[in-house]
């Protein structure tokens, strides 16, 4: 098919933005799923040992906070 090999892509340069957008979309989807699998507090990869939420006590869930620095504010979660 036209555009699937590098030579035909040089002839059909208008397909480059398509590759860029689809590529970004795929990267985004894979990256989001990987982030969910590895960083989500609801996912536990550790098969042995105690399950605890302590490692998430200082986790910052907010992407960007213009005003308050949440890393300095204490987490109101109860300590067992």
């Amino acid at each position: 098919m036209q555009g699937m090999s590098l030579q035909s892509l040089k002839k059909h340069r208008a397909l480059i933005p398509l590759y860029v957008c689809v590529g970004l979309g795929c990267l985004g989807a894979v990256g989001y799923t990987a982030r969910l699998a590895l960083r989500n507090p609801d996912v536990q990869w550790n098969r042995k040992g105690e399950i605890s939420n302590e490692e998430f006590r200082t986790k910052q869930y907010k992407f960007y906070s213009p005003n308050i620095d949440y890393s300095k504010v204490e987490n109101p979660a109860p300590k067992y």
């Binding site: 002839k11 059909h12 340069r13 208008a14 480059i16 933005p17 398509l18 957008c21 907010k62 992407f63 960007y64 906070s65 213009p66 005003n67 308050i68």
Partner: protein, 229 residues
């Protein structure tokens, strides 16, 4: 407040609404530019006797009219994301006020001091004076001190309503069984009007919201008169 023939947003009374207004102006400018550009091109096509007999492919123009809209969308997305994060900030509020939506009036509760509770009904057309705002004035206004951060806790008693004040940039659904929180501040004194924004029955259009923003000194006087009632 909203008046006849006003096409634009109401004057802002809060810094967040100012930012929303600027974003609106920025985005509307981009949209007007795009509309005029496309309109001009179409008019050019209408009043034109040329024919391109060998119109096929055209790689360069396809590249351009894919990249340019992507760049335009980035110009809109970046201010939008910035605004979303700014709107989500929590600043320590000075006062907390609860408002409960009923069919078809709002009730306000100030529980920070003594428990002040009152209902706010629309002033019907039979009772209004010539100087009242028709279908916007209420008997008891919600009063807040200006330049102070106010936390609103909004809920409903029966069906879903929505508490909104356009000039403060606030619109929150009042859902029964749920407490929604919003925080705002008023830059100036005055009356700010809003209307219930979620269909709630026969008198949905007749349950307005009026916020009276006054100086803290008079607010304290108002609180003490309300406590006695």
């Amino acid at each position: 407040m909203a008046t006849w023939k006003s096409l634009l947003l109401q004057d802002s009374a809060s810094p967040l609404m100012e930012q929303l207004s600027f974003f609106h102006d920025h985005t509307l400018l981009i949209l007007v530019i795009i509309t005029i550009l496309v309109g001009q091109m179409m008019m050019g096509l209408f009043f034109n006797k040329y024919t391109h007999r060998y119109l096929l492919e055209g790689q360069l123009i396809e590249l351009i009219w894919t990249i340019l809209p992507a760049i335009t969308l980035i110009f809109i997305a970046l201010p939008s994301l910035r605004l979303i994060y700014i709107l989500d900030e929590t600043i320590n509020p000075l006062i907390s006020i609860k408002t409960i939506g009923h069919q078809w009036y709002w009730s306000y509760e100030y529980s920070d001091f003594k428990n002040i509770e009152f209902d706010s009904y629309l002033i019907p057309q039979t009772d209004m004076k010539n100087s009242s705002f028709r279908l916007l004035d209420v008997d008891n206004r919600m009063t807040i001190p200006y330049l102070s951060q106010v936390r609103m806790l909004i809920s409903a008693a029966d069906v879903i309503h929505s508490w909104t004040i356009p000039s403060l940039g606030v619109k929150v659904d009042a859902t029964p069984g749920r407490l929604n929180q919003v925080s705002f501040t008023s830059n100036r004194t005055g009356l700010m009007f809003g209307q219930c924004s979620e269909i709630c029955g026969a008198n949905h259009s007749f349950m307005p919201i009026v916020v009276e923003s006054i100086s803290p000194k008079y607010f304290i006087k108002w609180i003490s008169t309300m406590i006695e009632i």
